[in-house]
Symmetry: C2
DNA sequence: AGATTTATCCCCGAAAAACAGGAGTTTTCT
DNA sequence: AGAAAACTCCTGTTTTTCGGGGATAAATCT
């Protein structure tokens, strides 16, 4: 029996690409597409595909949130994240929210087919590059505590230790300690370089 | 006579999408595709299309550079930038390097057709959203001098005024002045907030 | 229950940045 | 050639950061 595939992506070209790709595949049945989260949910009320290929960036709702919502309502539908961004945080969130796979948009036809055939069996599929990045990132990952994240953000807002202390109702000394620990964790010699990497690595 | 179209994009799905889209257009002739800059240049040695649809992000060379190279060697070929990113700096650079148009990947078939029909006449085509963003960005744009950019980058590297002064062979006082002017231009009260916006707005 | 992590607080002193305000010289544009 | 912009340098003062310490209570994990 053919695998029923649905796709959600606001990029018209990608939808066309997938459609064209799957056209000649016998064990794949294209059941439709949506260009935003809302119409995807509307479609699911009428029928459920076996697999949803889901972009992570959409106009009305992020794929991350849509993924959770779909999985809550229709647990039997398998979801494969589809994205240009090989970014560990996105992948992790998709998986956390119930996605079974993650494939980059520069994937080959074979890879996409393999991904679908894998997840439909209940297994997980991550494209090679994604798996690589995740592994690499997990090794040299900076882990911040809740409080440190708060302080980091306020520092990046341009607030002084004094101002942060008042805002968080803690002592200046405490803020200073957090600041020191942040600098150490980021291996930065001052806030300028710390904020730079923090923004680049999406901490802020 | 049909417009000869070539596409360079490392995203397989996008190539498939475009191909599928153009298939039924009578005045469009698909002459081929490449998935990286090198094979694009190789193709151009054998024949020149009327239009190249060019992704800005590619594995071996950025579309920005490829655009310049192609335009130098084959000035009669029109180039349309193709990207997911609606980012003013990219668009500007593509245009500066000789591109005649810029279209987002979530464009409709009609928009892409219009873009091609426009640029082939020698006119410029920017997709609506892109034009909007450019206009919006030009209004509240922070303009930095060469020296200020240098200093900004070194600040973000974590260097002190003293270190920067030595590196650039200027006085500490001068670095301090640049720093002051930078803070004023960014409307920031310290480097932390300045670096944050600088990174976010792609100055770094 | 014991160990680890997290969050809190404190001191000191040197270094650096931020703030204020002025001023001369060289490029660049018109 | 003249104006504007960019780059350069200066003196001071105040504020903030940064690099060392060390310490205690509470939460979390094993």
């Amino acid at each position: 029996m053919a695998i029923k595939v649905f796709i959600v992506d606001d990029h018209y070209l990608v939808i066309e690409g997938i459609r064209s790709l799957l056209q000649n595949e016998k064990n794949i049945e294209w059941v439709g597409h949506a260009m935003n989260a809302e119409s995807c949910l509307a479609f699911l009320k009428t029928q459920q595909p076996d697999i949803i290929l889901m972009d992570i960036s959409m106009p009305d709702m992020s794929g991350i949130d849509l993924c959770r919502e779909v999985k809550e309502k229709y647990p039997s539908v398998f979801i494969i994240g589809l994205s240009t961004f090989n970014q560990q945080s996105f992948v992790q969130k998709m998986i956390d929210n119930g996605a079974s796979g993650y494939v980059l948009k520069n994937a080959s036809k074979e890879e996409i087919m393999e991904a679908m055939n894998t997840v439909v069996k209940g297994k997980q599929y991550l494209s090679f590059e994604v798996a690589q990045t995740i592994k690499a990132n997990q090794d040299n990952k900076i882990i911040l505590t809740r409080r440190e994240k708060e302080v980091l953000e306020l520092i990046a807002e341009g607030m002084t230790n004094n101002e942060i202390a008042h805002k968080l109702f803690i002592s200046i000394a405490t803020v200073d300690t957090h600041r020191k620990n942040l600098l150490a964790k980021f291996n930065a010699k001052n806030v300028a370089s710390m904020v730079k990497t923090a923004v680049q690595e999406k901490f802020i």
